[in-house]
């Protein structure tokens, strides 16, 4: 958490509102890293993968611990994407 906001007009909350619409239209660059997000969609949106009770873990049916596990994996994926794409705006 030691990163600070980079200096520039964006870090000043009193920046006067710009009226130039072209500035708002900076092209959006997709990164290959974003494919990591796709994995999560497939993993949790296809119930046949996980709609079963076996194997149990600590007495919890698979259906429940599988999806809870994906909360953690999802958070980690996002962290990886953030760190990997941090340098390129």
């Amino acid at each position: 958490m030691s990163y600070s906001t980079p200096p520039g007009p964006d870090s000043d909350p009193r920046t006067p509102a710009s009226t130039d619409p072209a500035r708002a239209s900076r092209p959006y660059r997709l990164s290959w890293w974003y494919l990591l997000f796709l994995v999560q969609f497939v993993a949790v949106l296809w119930p046949p993968f996980y709609n079963r009770a076996d194997p149990y873990w600590l007495g919890i049916p698979f259906f429940y611990w599988y999806q809870l596990l994906w909360v953690v994996i999802g958070g980690l994926c996002t962290a990886v994407v953030y760190l990997a794409t941090r340098r390129s705006p």
Binding site: A24, Q40, G59, Q67, L76, Y82, R86
Partner: protein, 508 residues
């Protein structure tokens, strides 16, 4: 109703007074001129990674969530777990869209999402559609927060008849109105920190302690009826409950950050970087929510519905009483006080943010746009403060005089309505390709069809489509969003063509 729980009640009241004091003092936190709407309504866009985490977490994971989702598990079983994939998928979407939206809003000084749509597409009527949808979808949500508060107050054993039963709710309401008025968004931001510490402490204790009392997870899940333990496998030529589960999760994830209170949380952040970090950090709340859903099963295993002590509570509040009953049955009084305070304060935080977000919308996109185009800064923030009060009074009246079911139905409709703002908001963050009138036509079609489908299914979230001999039950919001997008995409080249021919400049 059960007798007053004096120990729990004392702790509950003490924690409530503490957050009331904190909320009033918050006006001095990261001090700014509260006569400016940006200061009152967005906390001066000064919240870093950590405060944003508390604020957005406190905003999205509400008292109603903590009561209603376990209640759904208690009543309907595995289906309730859709909240978990829902909150998993919300964050990748959030990561890709909202830091970009933040940057544009920050650069242009936009305070609401309708400001953004207005600036992006240059159409005040499209912006009005976004504004009205946002306010209407948020109102029942505020009412449900007050309802969540009412359930825990009733569970504390305060008289359930006559004026006395409403007194605690009225006191809580006055506290809410006072600190919102005086401190703006700084109040829920500071209270969210207290609320979250209490919620985490309560949930983590409960998830360890309750299975010990109930004979372990294996024993708890053995008590859950077989039909509730898993999703029902679909029959031939149907996607059945699988389709419903997946579309509910995806549709809810797409809708989540379109709510005005979510966007207010996003815009109050100090940098787009803080938002990206939060996309990785906020899932910790999803984990908490997942664990809370399991409490619905704990309540089944504990047999709270058979306990005569809770008969009145279940009679009045239905399955929403299951988690409060579980806590009353198995925890000592002092802990019940902390847990219920967590839920009660968990109602105040989002209720305040929702009221502020709706008030910002009214001040900027209705009053400024259509009534008084040149308000002074002071006047604009005063209008917002008054609007916030009116909105909260409306929610209170709703809770006091309108049957509970109506608030739940309206919130369901709210989900269908708010998702119709997605094409304008999300496409606007990336491209100005869509035509403004095409977006408005898509919005209107999605809203009308969605409402009709909801009424056709007797106000349940899933509608069954029949395609080529297959029946496809799915979340109405998602189905109508596809319709909305299709119409907007179809009409865009048409409208742009007409505009080019008649010489009207196409919107850039």
């Amino acid at each position: 109703m059960n007798h007053p729980q004096w120990v729990a009640l004392t702790i509950f009241a003490a924690l409530f007074l503490f957050v009331a004091w904190l909320g009033m003092r918050a006006s001095r936190w990261r001090r700014g001129d509260l006569d400016q709407l940006q200061e009152w309504g967005l906390g001066g866009r000064r919240f870093g990674t950590l405060v944003t985490w508390f604020l957005v977490g406190g905003d999205l994971y509400t008292a109603y969530t903590f009561i209603a989702v376990p209640a759904l598990a208690f009543g309907a079983g595995a289906t309730a777990f859709f909240a978990v994939p829902y909150t998993i998928l919300a964050y990748p979407i959030f990561f890709m869209v909202f830091p970009r939206l933040w940057e544009i809003c920050h650069r242009e000084g936009y305070i609401t999402v309708a400001d953004f749509v207005r600036g992006r597409f240059g159409n005040r009527w499209l912006a009005l559609a976004i504004t009205v949808t946002g306010i209407v979808a948020t109102l029942p949500y505020i009412a449900l927060q007050l309802l969540g508060l009412q359930v825990v107050i009733a569970a504390l054993g305060i008289g359930s008849v006559g004026i006395a039963s409403y007194l605690p709710l009225l006191i809580a309401f006055v506290i809410l109105a006072l600190f919102t008025h005086s401190s703006g968004l700084r109040a829920p931001a500071s209270i969210a920190i207290v609320k979250d510490i209490l919620i985490y402490a309560t949930t983590l204790t409960a998830i360890v302690y309750l299975p010990m009392r109930l004979g372990g997870f294996a024993h708890i899940f053995a008590a859950v009826p077989r039909t509730k333990l898993l999703l029902e496998a679909p029959g031939p030529h149907s996607t059945g409950s699988y389709g419903a589960y997946a579309t509910m999760a995806l549709g809810s994830a797409l809708a989540l950050f379109l709510y005005p209170h979510a966007i207010t949380g996003v815009l109050s952040s100090s940098s787009s970087r803080a938002l990206k970090r939060n996309a990785a950090l906020l899932p910790s709340y999803s984990l908490l929510l997942g664990l809370l859903v399991l409490m619905g099963f704990f309540a089944i295993a504990a047999g709270v519905a058979q306990n005569p002590r809770f008969a009145t509570g279940f009679h009045l509040y239905g399955n929403s009483f299951s988690v409060p009953a579980l806590f009353l049955q198995l925890f000592p009084g002092w802990f019940v006080g902390i847990a219920f305070a967590a839920i009660g304060i968990g109602a105040l935080v989002p209720a305040a943010i929702m009221a502020i977000a709706s008030a910002n919308l009214y001040a900027r996109n209705i009053h400024r746009e259509f009534i008084d185009p040149q308000p002074s800064e002071r006047r604009e923030s005063r209008i917002a403060k008054s609007a916030a009060l009116v909105i909260k009074l409306g929610a209170l009246a709703f809770v006091l005089w309108v049957p509970t079911d109506y608030a739940i139905y309206l919130q369901l409709l709210g989900g269908i309505w708010i998702i119709q703002t997605l094409p304008a908001v999300i496409s606007g963050a990336f491209t100005a390709w869509f035509n403004d009138w095409a977006l408005l036509a898509g919005w209107a079609l999605g809203t009308i069809t969605g409402t009709a489908m909801a009424f056709a299914t007797h106000l349940t979230p899933a509608y069954t489509l029949h395609v080529a001999g297959w029946s496809l039950p799915g979340y109405t919001a998602l189905y109508t969003l596809v319709l909305n997008l299709a119409l907007a995409a179809l009409l865009t080249p048409l409208f742009e063509g007409i505009a080019a021919r008649t010489g009207r400049p196409a919107t850039s």
